[in-house]
């Protein structure tokens, strides 16, 4: 059975709307595109805040000794930076991208449960504000790392309202993002257009489907863990003794590892769409990719114990085996991406540059992941800057570049205006140089024994730290250029048209931006690239007016 999205009744209306009413209408709108835009704006706000904290940290670390902040403030900085980026920026941004695009890609008029998505956004926003409001309390914001490890985070070691707000905020934000993911999953399963079978889903929608599986399986566990942590802080007796600490770690990392892939898969999907479009080719190995995605997501649920190798309380053999097995589906995905480019007429537009940046830089994050998946090697680098470098190569140099590939690619669809190529390329090079300047030295710092989460270090490590801090400044400049690009492109609009790239999937068959119910008419769907099919039938390589 192919989805069979039911037709949509037009909303009642017709009278003029006052500005105040319009604002309420926007904030309470159930249109998936508006909800996704709200998620996007909120996540950008939290990205700005969390990024600012990172700049403060790098300023402190530019030289050995304490110059700018106290130990306690530094604890708040890295804890709120990490938790802000993971709970409030990358995860919601990934799901927000899916919320906007999946209904368009599967040919649906709306998401399956628009109210659920709207409620999810508000819960996420309230959770984020609660987490950050800790800075306004006497006890300060959360300062027990983004994992809130027990016993650091109990009421003895971290008393005060600030940490409570962190725990409640994380719970609320996670519940919100869970609801958004559920909406996306239901849309794919139940609202596909006639002809859109599961094996005709675009690659991005498949990655979103895989992502929602992990969200559905792991996010409830974190919500329960946060509830128990709050109970521990107020009532005690929940996570007591050594077993309590291990139990908490199991619960946290059961969420904590899959969430890395929640922040990864949607961007693999975005990069896959970009690579296919800008190589002017059909995506290579579609079925292999689908299978590898399902295996990858399943395996990624089974590797959480590698974060606990040094506790000696998990079966290292099992978790090392499953962690290494991840290389197989990851290799298939890389093979598919590279093979799509081989023989293609590659166009190095900004989205493609970011996609290539993602492919190259995530590889460094992935390969260093093999090191931390091996218990003997992990014993050496655990708790060091090597780990910081590894996960920043996956999440910043990887996922963030994938996000920007997607943003540059779909911006014309969402706004009807093109981003400026010159500014886009400038921001790419600044971000690429900045990311490598910041994070590559950290591998050496970690191997040399520099501990993470400590504001001071041995003077011999000063040069590499200074280099990393300069790199952070370059990243900030790159981000500013990106925002300037968005500002200029929206103020002085260059109209995009429906399909400026000569793309392949269904969202490009509607107007830019799409109407309230997405489509006025749907083209026939005979594969996962219906627009490419249509062009091939007409004997054209790219639509008229597409960027050459």
């Amino acid at each position: 059975m192919a989805g069979g999205a039911p037709p949509v009744a037009a909303p009642a209306g017709g009278r003029a709307v006052a500005p105040g009413e319009r604002a309420v209408g926007w904030l309470a709108s159930t249109d998936h595109k508006r909800t996704a835009a709200k998620v996007g704006v909120a996540s950008i706000g939290f990205f700005g805040l969390s990024g600012l904290l990172a700049l403060l940290m790098r300023a402190e670390l530019a030289q050995p000794g304490l110059q700018l902040v106290s130990d306690n403030t530094y604890n708040e900085l890295f804890s709120m930076h990490g938790s802000g980026m993971i709970f409030l920026f990358l995860t919601p941004a990934a799901l927000g991208l899916g919320l906007y695009l999946v209904p368009l890609q599967v040919g649906a008029a709306e998401v399956a449960a628009p109210r659920l998505a709207l409620g999810g956004f508000w819960l996420y926003l309230c959770g984020g504000l609660a987490m950050y409001s800790g800075f306004l309390t006497d006890s300060g914001a959360g300062k027990d790392t983004w994992t809130a490890t027990i016993p650091l985070s109990n009421s003895t070691h971290s008393p005060g309202v600030g940490m409570d707000l962190w725990v409640i905020g994380v719970g609320l934000a996670t519940l919100g993002t869970l609801l958004i993911a559920l909406t996306i999953l239901l849309t794919i399963v139940r609202l596909r257009a006639p002809g859109m079978t599961m094996l005709r889903l675009p690659v991005f929608s498949w990655t979103m489907l895989a992502t929602t599986f992990m969200v559905l399986a792991s996010f409830p566990v974190l919500i329960v863990a946060m509830g128990l942590l709050l109970a521990e802080r107020h009532l005690g007796g929940v996570f007591t003794g050594a077993t309590g600490s291990i139990a908490y770690q199991h619960l946290f990392w059961f969420y904590g590892h899959p969430v890395v892939y929640v922040m990864f898969f949607p961007f693999v999907g975005a990069v896959a769409e970009v690579v296919a479009t800008f190589s002017r080719k059909r995506f290579f190995g579609y079925r292999a990719l689908v299978l590898s995605l399902l295996v990858f997501t399943s395996l990624s649920m089974a590797v959480w114990g590698h974060h606990m190798f040094v506790t000696g309380a998990v079966q290292n053999q099992y978790f090392s085996l499953t962690s290494h097995l991840l290389a197989v589906p990851a290799g298939i995905e890389y093979l598919d991406l590279i093979a799509t480019m081989i023989g293609g007429a590659i166009l190095l537009r900004t989205p493609m540059l970011f996609a290539l940046g993602f492919i190259c830089q995530f590889l460094i994050g992935g390969l260093t992941g093999i090191i931390v998946a091996s218990p003997p090697l992990d014993y050496h680098v655990n708790g060091s800057f090597f780990i910081v470098a590894h996960f920043h190569y996956t999440l910043f140099a990887g996922s963030f570049f994938g996000l920007l590939a997607g943003v540059h690619y779909w911006f014309p669809k969402a706004t009807g205006a093109m981003l400026r190529e010159g500014l886009g390329k400038l921001s790419f090079w600044l971000l690429a140089i900045g990311a490598n300047l910041t994070f590559f030295p950290m591998f050496f710092l970690g191997f040399d024994g520099m501990a993470r989460r400590v504001p001071d270090y041995a003077p011999r490590l000063g040069d590499l730290n200074l280099l990393a801090s300069i790199g952070a400044g370059v990243i900030a400049l790159g981000v500013l250029v990106f925002f300037a690009n968005v500002w200029v492109s929206l103020r002085r609009r260059v109209p995009a048209g429906d399909d400026p790239w000569g793309a392949q999937t269904l969202e490009w068959a509607t107007s830019s931006p799409p109407p309230r119910h997405n489509f006025t008419a749907l083209p026939p769907v005979g594969s996962y690239a219906p627009l490419l099919d249509r062009r091939e039938e007409a004997g054209a390589s790219a639509p008229e007016g597409a960027v050459a």
Binding site: T30, P114, L118, A217, A302, Y318
Partner: protein, 114 residues
């Protein structure tokens, strides 16, 4: 493959296999956690099999203020656990108000659909 429940079932089965593998390594409690995590996806697959999507028109809301109230009420009630009972009570009130409003909204929607 046109059956939407197939990837859900496939993924759920992979989870069960990996969970069984974990149990074989004497990690019984984590294995139970792992096996339980497959449940939501399997339940969804079963639900989709039993209740396929409706083919008739859906009345979609343009906006839904009560949902916003429910979410803000829930958040306020939760934050009240540390900020004070007063905030929990205010949050619970907003939640209740939103829930009643939502009930009415859904009732109107169903009436229109009939």
């Amino acid at each position: 493959m046109s059956r939407p429940w197939a990837p859900l079932l496939f993924w759920g089965c992979l989870q069960l296999i990996l969970g069984a593998g974990l149990a074989a390594f004497d990690e019984v409690v984590p294995a139970l956690l792992f096996l339980a995590s497959a449940a939501p996806v399997l339940v969804l697959a079963a639900w989709n099999l039993v209740r396929p999507p409706r083919e008739r028109p859906r009345r979609l809301p343009g906006l839904s203020v009560p949902v916003v109230l429910i979410a803000i009420g829930l958040a306020a009630a939760a934050i009240g656990l540390t900020a004070g009972l007063w905030l929990s009570l205010v949050g619970a009130e907003i939640f209740l108000f939103g829930a009643v409003w939502l009930g009415r909204e859904l009732y109107e929607e169903r009436r229109w659909a009939r």
